[in-house]
């Protein structure tokens, strides 16, 4: 075959494959949004869910999802940042480092139901955290850590060594070079990692059923005392998330409008993830500009 034709065929195959991916994505998101958006209303977003009668909303589930995400990031980001920096900047290349790498990869491929059950036994039962946002956040940290650590490590490693040498040659210690130069340059990559892991948190259901629970007791949004059981900030209350809610209304929902709730919730979930992604990108860019530009 002459190289020109081979090249044309390769181009065509690549375009077709990309088209397939885009079409699948468009169909999926389109379907969810088209079936879901008609059911979204202010009432749907701001009222509590109903167990038996129609007309329930997803207010608490929506809030729980976001709160859970924040808690999970608060727990997992510092740990992931530390291990990412260690692996990228400090770890010598030896068997111990590759053992850590392998362990991280194994952790990321654990089935979520197993992590869920493990966390149920350890945190919910043994440590008596009960079905709570905190238990859920800890379980999600298990999924989050490998993803986050990996992406932080990779974004740090992608900063050219020339920058490290430039820092060192100015008489900066390794730590100052990392915090002052390497980390700011790596921020966009780190943000991408956060977004990817956040998607996982928003979408996770199996592990949360056993940890955060599948009930959403009435909570008060005017009670800012995190130790009060009725407060929306209390991390020790059971908290059904949006993804769990979708799962529940589809499997054991007895409300007459279960399928509408499910479609509406799915659309809301996708929209929230989209907003979060855009927001995180914007924030990351802002942070990058702030840390790298003058003033």
């Amino acid at each position: 075959m002459n190289p020109k034709i081979a090249n044309k065929i390769a181009d065509a195959v690549i375009y077709i494959l990309v088209a397939i991916v885009v079409i699948i994505l468009a169909l999926l998101i389109g379907f969810i949004l088209i079936t879901g958006i008609p059911h979204i209303s202010w009432h749907f977003l701001t009222s509590v869910s109903q167990s038996f009668s129609a007309g329930g909303g997803i207010r608490d589930q929506l809030f729980n999802s976001i709160y859970l995400l924040i808690l999970t990031l608060i727990i997992s980001f510092p740990i992931a940042l530390g291990s990412g920096i260690y692996l990228a900047e400090y770890a010598p290349k030896n068997w111990f480092t590759s053992l850590i790498q392998t362990a991280i990869e194994v952790l990321s491929s654990l089935p979520s139901i197993i992590v869920g059950l493990f966390c149920y036994l350890l945190f919910v039962i043994e440590f008596q955290l009960g079905f709570s946002i905190l238990s859920g956040a800890i379980a999600l940290t298990f999924f989050n850590l490998p993803l986050l650590t990996r992406s932080i490590q990779e974004s740090l490693e992608s900063v050219p060594d020339l920058q490290r040498q430039a820092g060192a040659s100015l008489g900066l210690s390794r730590w100052k070079t990392i915090t002052g130069i390497i980390f700011p340059i790596a921020i966009p990559g780190i943000i991408t990692g956060i977004i990817l892991s956040a998607g996982r948190v928003f979408g996770e259901a199996a592990a949360l059923i056993y940890t955060a629970g599948e009930s959403a007791p009435a909570i008060s949004y005017s009670n800012f005392n995190p130790f009060n059981p009725a407060s929306f900030l209390n991390p020790m209350r059971p908290a059904e998330t949006l993804a769990v809610h979708i799962w529940k209304v589809n499997t054991e929902g007895v409300t007459p409008d279960a399928s509408q709730i499910s479609s509406g919730s799915s659309a809301v979930l996708i929209i929230v993830i989209l907003i979060f992604n855009l927001g995180a990108h914007y924030l990351g860019k802002h942070l990058y500009d702030k840390m790298t530009a003058s003033k």
């Binding site: 010598p92 290349k93 050219p160 060594d161 020339l162 920058q163 490290r164 040498q165 430039a166 060192a168 040659s169 100015l170 008489g171 900066l172 210690s173 100052k176 002052g180 130069i181 700011p184 340059i185 790298t292 530009a293 003058s294 003033k295």
Partner: protein, 254 residues
């Protein structure tokens, strides 16, 4: 001016087991430009990178012999490497400004390495002085807040020189600073070096022999990890003692 700022004796460097420098003895005088010349792989950059211990960043590199700066062995265990590197600045082959603004590039080293707080006015002065010394001030003064990456390679390299000058080193190492640049930018950098020479000791690695003859006071010729000969640039270029130097200068190899 015969003060020796750096004296090195029997410097050997190993990458793992492999010896890359085979005992280099070389001294550097204050306020002079010394050019290290030699073909690729002759060890000139490797040797240069021993002088601020930047080779330490590469795992499995060991250096033996002695390199003394003001009679202090820089490889002694009690040496503060970050202090050493503040005294011995370095400019690299590829311009490598931080992807920050011009101002921040120059201010960064001072800001991060400094022990005491520098006021905004003082910092402005340091930045301006450094950029002026590096002969790039006129080209960047209206765009100090633009990213350093938005300037040409030659300007970036002079910003890098300004960045080094800002930390007030005594010695400046340059590792083929103009090999990635066009002749006009190279010429600007050479002029910069000549203009700052009175305040610094400059050691420059170059594969450009004309450059070495234009700007350096002393020249050292390295070949295969050995120092072949060193001396005043004029002598080396007009009347080299060693046959290898003569052959190299006359383009017989390298």
């Amino acid at each position: 001016m015969t003060d020796k700022v750096i004296t090195s004796e029997n410097v050997r460097l190993y990458y793992g087991e492999k010896e890359a420098l085979h005992g280099v003895n070389l001294d550097f005088k204050k306020n002079e430009i010394t050019a290290l010349i030699g073909p690729s792989g002759s060890g000139k950059s490797t040797y240069l990178r021993c002088l601020n211990r930047i080779n330490d960043l590469i795992p499995e590199v060991t250096v033996t012999g002695s390199i003394k700066m003001d009679k202090q062995d820089i490889y002694a265990p009690n040496v503060d490497i970050t202090e050493l590197r503040k005294r011995v600045g370095m400019v690299f082959q590829q311009p490598n400004p931080f992807p920050f603004s011009v101002y921040e590039n120059v201010a960064y080293g001072v800001k991060l390495a400094g022990r005491s707080k520098v006021s905004k006015a003082e910092m402005d002065k340091i930045v301006e002085d450094s950029l002026k010394k590096a002969a790039v001030w006129d080209e960047v003064k209206d765009n100090l807040n633009d990213s350093a990456l938005s300037f040409s390679g030659g300007q970036q390299q002079r910003i890098c020189i300004a960045r080094v000058l800002a930390v007030k080193p005594e010695i400046i190492l340059l590792d083929e600073p103009t090999s990635a640049l066009d002749p006009i930018s190279s010429y600007a950098i050479e002029n910069t070096l000549l203009s700052i020479k009175k305040d610094y000791t400059i050691i420059i690695v170059t594969h450009n022999m004309q450059q070495a003859s234009r700007i350096s006071d002393q020249t050292a010729f390295l070949l295969d990890g050995k120092l072949v000969e060193a001396g005043p640039t004029k002598e080396i270029f007009i009347n080299p003692k060693e046959k290898e130097t003569n052959d190299y200068l006359n383009g017989k190899f390298g």
